[in-house]
Symmetry: C2
Subunit: 445 residues, 2 copies
């Protein structure tokens, strides 16, 4: 190929791609979250990345949505999924007679947003979702399970999280009481912005919707309620006798009682939590990192009245949680949470001389069979260049295999950080490297 | 939503989607393969599913390829990846100054084929790829590593595989010797079909290309050579002095010697292996299941002269392997390889009475904290309906939590298969369930 015919290798803008050592860490986080999901009896699901546009855009009446990657192939109009919830609804509707309910499923996968690439916005991102879908009814135990699961995910990642929990029926009931239930979507949009805009602006917007000054003030005050469940209840229970309001408080109380049984420690009740999406109808929650400068939510979830309303007449209420792992990882990288120098695909490099090259490969192979990630820098002919390569790759241990070592079966294991060298037989080498790996997994290392 | 507005939930044809219990098994296979890749010091890579069409179709000069999902969004012409190799080439070319070579990476991900849906053909499928990319040169150790890795993947899955290995230079050299090097692509296409078409038809096609009857017969005879490396060498080494032929045999010998050091046990040398793709230039291999009625290859790989030729002037030879895991799983399912009744997301169901409902949830939560996948069928109010649900879900163990049990701290663990019941305290329950899980992982269970 001539130089002038070469194509400049480029990655699509806004699409996420990590360098391999970062990817090692990221995959590690995904694996930990997957383990949490499995340990809590969630079943895996892996829906296709493409869906019929008709199904994926059912909510918007099938209209083209600029935020979606949509195209046709032959006669087929299809979209790349923009979340994992609509495919779940499609799957559950298709298989509702084969599944057992409550159906607990998790899915870790990429989703696609056709928006303009910009800093902090990804067009391809991972979501880690877990949902519990009921048949006709679903106990508040499920709400507590999802919040508990969310906390466990962050526990598994070693991150301190604060989880703010509310129930949208409380605000919805109060809005009903004010006589604005037919404007509740618009009102929720304003309330959801309260953390970002001055209160005067919010008041102004609520006035435009038609609320009185007093009503708006009461509503905004209500969203500022937070504390333990008891504090929240004591503070608001006398505010309204509206049925929805009372039901919301009751649901929140049940959820809070089940959370106590599960031993949750990171939950604060906070009525400011709206959680955008208007399909949430009950429990809503969001998680925030405690020891981070990043103030946005790193995930959350909530209860929806009927997951499958676009596909089926059967009522299937659900509650779910999602960890925004792409954003979270981006934050952790930016805040130097990881020590990349310790992320190594190699436990030990086997370094040889000309006459021990084959013996070294054999040893490498045996080490791997014994669970040690051993590597031979077989392209480097000299001892010196192999040692240099081990240094360059920040490999912690080097196993030196000379002729004497092959004869005696005792090898020289060198710790490249301390410079220390010890002579060990094969089994001792394996034990030393495994012990060291265990030690490096300890939190203080 | 009115019934008439409901959308029929459909999955795109040819897109693979497993039911959750099957997905548990499939994910288990992927995890095992991932572990093998990591244990052999391969780094993970996770490239985007979308690429610039220019990059993805570089090989075909950027022409539209019907087999590819291609579309434009705004000004951007993009494609869904159809394999994991071209994205690897793009990545390596972009980052060649940051990576260390040989660069060993694995990627497990979905690829997309825009072909017409039909039985046994998937439009979305998983590939499990591992490749070793060199800088300017790459030792035959890498070829042996990839073949060895391929065998280890099948070992990890508990499947007996036969790996047929060849080196394309042997046939290419012989074709050169016959004076048809400028027709080698067409000739390879015919030779690749030999297992599927009558020899007369192949001879006829070779004649059309221009080969003499004798030449064709010799060539076909050559492809029928197989056995240990020594047998192959003894049988063909005197056939030709052509440089490419001799080099091919030398490379195969080196690869075979390294494979011996690695202790490979499933390799047979077989010159009939061509492995389709014309970018393979040296080592080629394919794997076949030993105890299966499926006779097609379940994966393979080979050596390519220059991975990045479309993107970079730097020569980067590579060798790789790929497990066709979607096809493989399909075969294993069809041949009832798995006992789906044993695939359960639940170790133990906690069954309660009205008055012990909360105590049961607390116990469930504690069991999970202790690594037991415990579940409560909290939607089922009566003891009887909970037991029925446990049966329906084929849960092996049920932990019965009555008032006496809560008081004494001794619970009744019932084995639903044998009907046996024993009274155990919390720690004994945990131990019993863990021991049982270990036992069920043993090969004879």
């Amino acid at each position: 190929m001539n130089k002038q015919n070469l194509i400049t290798p480029r990655k699509l803008q806004g699409f996420w791609e990590l360098m391999p050592k970062q990817q090692m860490l990221f995959s590690g986080l995904l694996n930990k979250i997957e383990e949490v999901f499995k340990a809590n009896c969630f079943l895996p699901l892996d829906t296709p990345i493409l869906e019929y546009s008709e199904a994926l855009l059912a909510k918007s009446g099938g209209e083209t949505d600029k935020q979606v990657f949509r195209f046709t192939k032959g006669e087929t109009d299809m979209c790349m999924r923009y979340d994992l919830t609509v495919p779940l609804a499609r799957f559950v509707s298709m298989h509702k007679n084969e599944l057992t309910f409550p159906f607990k499923r998790f899915q870790i996968g990429k989703v696609y947003r056709g928006e303009r690439p910009q800093k902090g916005r990804f067009r391809e991102l991972y979501q880690c979702d877990a949902d519990i879908i009921g048949h006709e009814t679903l106990s508040e135990v499920a709400d507590a399970e999802c919040i508990n699961l969310f906390e466990k995910c962050f526990d598994a990642l070693g991150l301190d999280v604060k989880i703010l929990v509310s129930n949208r029926k409380i605000l919805a009931g109060f809005i009903e009481e004010l006589g604005f239930e037919n404007k509740s979507t618009e009102i929720f949009i304003v309330l959801d912005k309260l953390a970002k805009i001055p209160v005067e602006e919010a008041l102004c917007e609520l006035k435009e919707i038609g609320l009185s000054e007093t009503g708006s003030q009461q509503l905004i005050k209500l969203t500022k309620t937070n504390g333990t469940f008891k504090e929240v209840k004591d503070s608001i229970s006398k505010l309204s006798q509206n049925e929805t309001f009372v039901l919301g408080l009751e649901e929140l109380e049940k959820t809070s009682n089940y959370l106590k049984l599960f031993g949750n420690k990171s939950v604060v009740y906070d009525l400011s939590i709206i959680r955008g999406h208007n399909y949430y109808t009950g429990t809503v929650f969001e998680g925030f990192l405690k020891n981070s400068e990043y103030t946005g939510a790193v995930g959350g979830g909530g209860r929806f009245e009927n997951l499958c309303s676009y596909f089926s007449e059967t009522k299937m209420p659900g509650v779910g949680m999602s960890v925004g792992i792409t954003r979270l990882f981006d934050v952790l990288l930016a805040e130097n949470y990881f020590d990349l120098s310790k992320a190594n695909e190699i436990d030990c490099a086997v370094v040889t001389f000309d006459e021990t090259f084959n013996a070294g490969l054999e040893l490498m192979s045996k080490l791997r069979q014994n669970g040690i990630k051993a590597e031979s820098f077989y392209e480097n002919k000299t001892f010196k260049s192999q040692m240099k390569e081990a240094n360059r790759r920040q490999v912690k241990y080097v196993l030196i295999v000379g002729e004497d070592e092959v004869k005696s079966g005792n090898y020289t294991l060198k710790n490249m950080n301390s410079g220390e060298q010890i002579s060990l037989d094969f089994n001792q080498v394996v034990k030393q490297l495994k012990d060291d790996r265990m030690a490096s997994l300890m939190p203080n290392n």
